[in-house]
């Protein structure tokens, strides 16, 4: 039944998206491995790795869209979950180096030998097993998101306050991971990987396989997110995004829904990070930088918030532009372009590119109704001629819009 629901969920656009992803997962490795380099259709291994990276970013953007587009939680710390997933995978890859490191220590990674660590710290135990590492990829960021979300949502921390503390979270983690005595390689992070599951991470077949896996993971993430937002719980999420207090008054345990979707989203971001690390060959604390997390938000905004497909599309588009810009003569102007993109998209394209292309109303919200922070004054939409938002008072809006979900279900 679950399978049926997963497959039924996508709309036309979603099916196209899935078809593209599956097609990429099959065709690109074939073009890379089966064709000789001289062939015009050959895809070089570096291109495969680059696009594999884009797909990981797309999954990260998708996870952010799930919380931001459908639940109104603007997380400025999603890079933290991505990086934690990456670190978990990086720890597995470090342990696979074994005696091939510079110091050829059988147990300790190079940086620990260098820092005179006597033995492997307990939190590194078990990372030589892939299954354990894979579990940690989901469990550690998931647990962090669960605890963080549980506290934050239960205390009704919303709006910009929530954004700021998610940013503080990733900032604190960045400061911590920069320290050598944290046991994660400090500044340099984890790198010099050799094998993954016995295959050389540098080899073309491994790269192609990782690319295919990234495409499939993105497809799976899309299906999971789609299943969530199409479910009844998804309707409640949209309801609480638009009118949190009212949803609560209707009897829904808002914090439970939020915690659930935040944790799920964190796990998706972590998977993206885990797939990202073997493809780029390094993970270091700068992945935690608050600026990275904010950049993810702009990917989502460019593609179209609350559309899932748009988020993935925006991530690939912006990152492709970034690669093109920063490798050419235009490198000094990239930040101008990125900054301009932030401004333009928020003012001119509030629904993103997908909203612009699509005449059919996507499940994106009317942007005028974004929940304002619960501040005095600012909580009320300003009364000003020429501003499209907030001319209606709350009672008008209540009558003008039907309830978000058909039958209110009181939460247990």
């Amino acid at each position: 039944m679950i399978t049926r629901r997963l497959l039924q969920a996508p709309d036309g656009r979603g099916r196209v998206f899935l078809a593209i992803l599956v097609g990429l997962a099959v065709v690109v490795p074939v073009l890379n491995l089966a064709l000789p380099p001289a062939s015009p259709l050959h895809v070089s291994t570096s291109t495969v790795a680059l696009w594999g990276k884009y797909l990981c970013y797309a999954l990260l953007a998708l996870s952010l869209d799930l919380v931001w587009g459908y639940c109104g939680i603007l997380s400025l710390g999603h890079g933290a979950f991505f990086a934690l997933g990456g670190y978990a995978m990086g720890m597995y890859l470090m342990r696979q180096i074994g005696t091939r490191g510079v110091y050829a220590h059988p147990l300790l990674p190079d940086f620990m030998v260098f820092l005179n660590w006597p033995e492997l710290p307990f939190y590194w135990w078990g990372f030589n097993w892939f299954a354990y590492a894979l579990a940690m990829v989901f469990l550690v960021p998931g647990a962090l998101a669960f605890v963080f979300g549980w506290f934050a949502f239960r205390s009704r921390v919303t709006g910009v306050y929530l954004s700021i503390i998610t940013q503080a979270l990733t900032y604190a983690l960045m400061l911590g991971f920069f320290r050598n005595n944290f046991g994660f390689g400090g500044n340099n992070g984890l790198t010099d990987f050799k094998d993954i599951l016995g295959f050389n991470v540098q080899a073309a077949p491994t790269r192609a396989a990782l690319f295919a896996l990234s495409a499939l993971a993105l497809a799976a993430g899309y299906l999971a997110a789609q299943a969530v937002v199409r479910s009844k719980a998804g309707k409640v999420l949209v309801a609480l995004r638009d009118e949190e207090s009212r949803t609560r008054f209707l009897g829904y345990r808002v914090e439970n829904y939020k915690t659930f979707v935040f944790t799920l989203s964190a796990a998706m971001a972590a998977l993206a990070g885990a797939l990202y690390v073997p493809q780029v060959g390094i993970i270091n604390p700068s992945e935690f930088a608050p600026a990275n997390s904010i950049e993810v938000v702009i990917w989502v905004a460019v593609g179209g918030r609350g559309t899932l497909v748009g988020a993935a599309f925006g991530a690939v588009l912006v990152n492709y532009a970034k690669t093109t810009f920063t490798t050419g003569l235009l490198a000094p102007y990239w930040l101008f372009a990125l900054g301009g993109l932030f401004v333009l998209v928020t003012i001119v394209l509030p629904k993103g590119i997908l909203g612009l292309l699509s005449k059919r109303a996507p499940p994106a919200p009317a942007t005028a109704d974004w929940p304002a922070p619960r501040l005095e004054g600012a909580g009320e939409a300003p009364m000003r001629a020429g501003t499209p938002s907030g001319q209606l008072n709350r009672d008008d809006r209540a009558t003008a819009r039907p309830p978000a979900s058909g039958l209110p279900q009181p939460a247990e």
Binding site: L74, F151, A168, L175, I294, L341, T346, E380, A381, M383
Partner: protein, 533 residues
């Protein structure tokens, strides 16, 4: 003023000393000098002691000559020294002479070398330069060399500067405590003297004493160490408070403009840090112009930069508000993104026009240097920044409290729609508020240019901290921002010694995150029905 007084006192003291002791000294100096001709180590040693004690102005150059084997004696027992230029001089008078006699250098060995060094150390205790005397006293305090004792006594007798005299007495006490010959009473008194000094060096001196002391002395020393420890702990607290206050003033400067825009408009301005940066670069430009065309005005560069920085940052603020934020009211999360984009653009613009490296911003005369207060070193720039932050805070309070603009700003903060109904042009107030908040960030930039690197990344370092201050203190309340800045600044400095700088910061972030769970609206939340709307 103080320096000239001190010089006058020194000159007077030297004159009195010369008058009183000239005759006797000439005698003892010459008789000591003769002993060098004895050509035995014992006599040379005695001669050194005599020369050092004589106080003759030539004593130092004689001893230095001896050290470098430039002190010579002839068959006629006359002593000569060859100065560094190679001229032969009579050691008794210092006048250049011609000598035909065969001259032999005075021989020295290691024992003599030690004596020379101790004697020279003692001689600088009597130097005319107060800085050298103080240095010498401190050196003796550290070396605890018994040979310096006579020179010390002599120096204490002559010293007129109270600070140096105390240093000399402490040096004598240090020598006495470690001296095997000093009496019990002398030692007890010396311990008291060291105890009054009461710093880390004093503690080290007492703690380093050998165990074979008499009962009473040991008790006194233990008491003294305990007293010093208490004093040090107290000063440590004061010092942490001071550092915390200093950090708090910086946080307050960076956060206060943010508090206004956030409080009035509910707008998170991610480009706030870049306004600080613009202020700092304005200061840099002002100083460049002054260096190039009117170096005499350099001490006034900050006074010139302050209004300019306010104007520059304020105008950029108005441009941002009119150009971008105006279209995003009621959508705070999108405002956050748009202002982040603006901050990227501003940073890159500064990077392309001024380069990515740190630019040099000088400190005017009154802001450089430091002074001691008890066990505390206070740098002038930190002190002035605290004063500056206080002035800005008071001015802002006054603006909010006593001006029409302030009244209208408070009205809009409390109830935007009601204010609009009362014919307050909320759009105009928004623009002015944003300009005011940005202008204050520019002022913060002038101050921060004195203690931080002026680089395109200047603002980024402050943005998260200032958000935390605002969120912690509660929105729409300047006093909340003040309390937030003070508590975060001081807590940070008190955590640092235990947890280290980075871990302390992480701890603080965690504490603030937990605090926001407990009080989601900050320390001083606005109360009332409108808040829940």
């Amino acid at each position: 003023m103080r320096v000239s007084e001190r010089w006058a006192a020194v000159v007077l003291g030297l004159a009195l000393w010369l008058l009183g002791s000239l005759g006797v000294e000439a005698q003892s100096y010459e008789s000591a000098l003769e002993k060098f001709a004895g050509d035995s180590y014992n006599e040379t040693d005695a001669a050194i002691a005599g020369i050092a004690a004589s106080g003759n102005p030539l004593a130092a150059s004689v001893l230095e000559a001896l050290q470098d084997a430039r002190l010579l004696f002839g068959d006629d027992k006359r002593i000569f020294l060859r100065d560094k230029a190679g001229t032969l001089r009579d050691a008794a008078s210092g006048k250049p002479v011609e000598s035909t006699a065969t001259l032999k250098p005075v021989r020295i060995n290691n024992r003599i070398r030690r004596s020379i060094e101790a004697a020279l150390g003692g001689l600088t205790l009597l130097s005319a330069d107060p800085g050298k005397r103080l240095e010498a006293a401190q050196a003796v305090f550290k070396s605890k060399d018994g040979k310096a004792l006579p020179a010390l006594e002599q120096a204490i007798g002559k010293e007129v500067d109270l600070g140096i005299k105390r240093a000399l007495e402490e040096a004598r006490a240090a020598v006495l405590i470690y001296s095997p010959t000093a009496t019990e009473a002398e030692k007890l008194e010396a311990v008291g003297q060291i105890r009054r000094r009461g710093d880390q060096d004093a503690r080290g001196l007492l703690a380093g004493l050998p165990g074979d002391l008499s009962q009473s002395l040991r008790r006194t020393v233990a008491d003294a160490i305990a007293a010093i420890d208490n004093r040090l702990a107290a000063w440590n607290v004061v010092q942490n408070l001071w550092y915390g206050l200093s950090l708090a003033s910086v946080l307050l400067l960076a956060a206060i403009g943010l508090a206004i825009t956030f409080g009035v408009m509910g707008v998170i301005n991610m480009a706030h840090g870049e306004m600080v940066m613009l202020g700092a670069y304005t200061t840099f430009l002002v100083q460049e112009v002054i260096r190039g065309s009117a170096p005499a005005l350099f001490d006034y560069s900050l006074a010139i930069a302050i209004p300019l920085a306010f104007l520059v940052a304020g105008l950029v603020g108005i441009a941002i508000e009119r150009g971008v934020i105006r279209f995003l009211y009621g959508r705070p999360l999108e405002t956050l993104l748009a202002t982040w984009g603006i901050s990227l653009i501003l940073q890159q613009a500064v990077r392309t026009s001024f380069g990515p490296t740190n630019r040099e911003v000088g400190a005017p005369h009154f802001m450089s240097g430091a002074f001691e207060l008890g066990g505390l070193t206070i740098t002038w720039n930190r002190l002035w920044i605290i004063v500056f932050a206080g002035i800005i805070f008071a001015l802002l309070l006054a603006v909010l409290r006593f001006t029409t603009l302030g009244l209208q700003m408070r009205a809009v903060t409390q109830n935007r729609r009601m204010s609009a109904a009362m014919a307050i042009a909320t759009g105009r107030i928004d623009a002015l508020t944003f300009a005011l908040g940005s202008g204050i960030a520019g002022l913060a930039g002038v101050a921060l240019s004195q203690i931080d690197n002026v680089s395109p990344n200047l603002g980024q370092g402050y943005i998260i901290d200032s958000f935390l201050v605002v969120v912690f203190g509660g929105v729409g309340n300047l006093w909340g921002t003040l309390v937030g800045a003070l508590s975060l600044g001081i807590a940070n400095k008190f955590l640092e010694p235990y947890a280290g700088a980075v871990l302390g910061k992480i701890l603080l972030l965690v504490i603030v995150i937990l605090f926001i769970q407990k009080r989601p609206r900050g320390l001083f939340a606005l109360k009332g029905r409108a808040v829940e709307a």
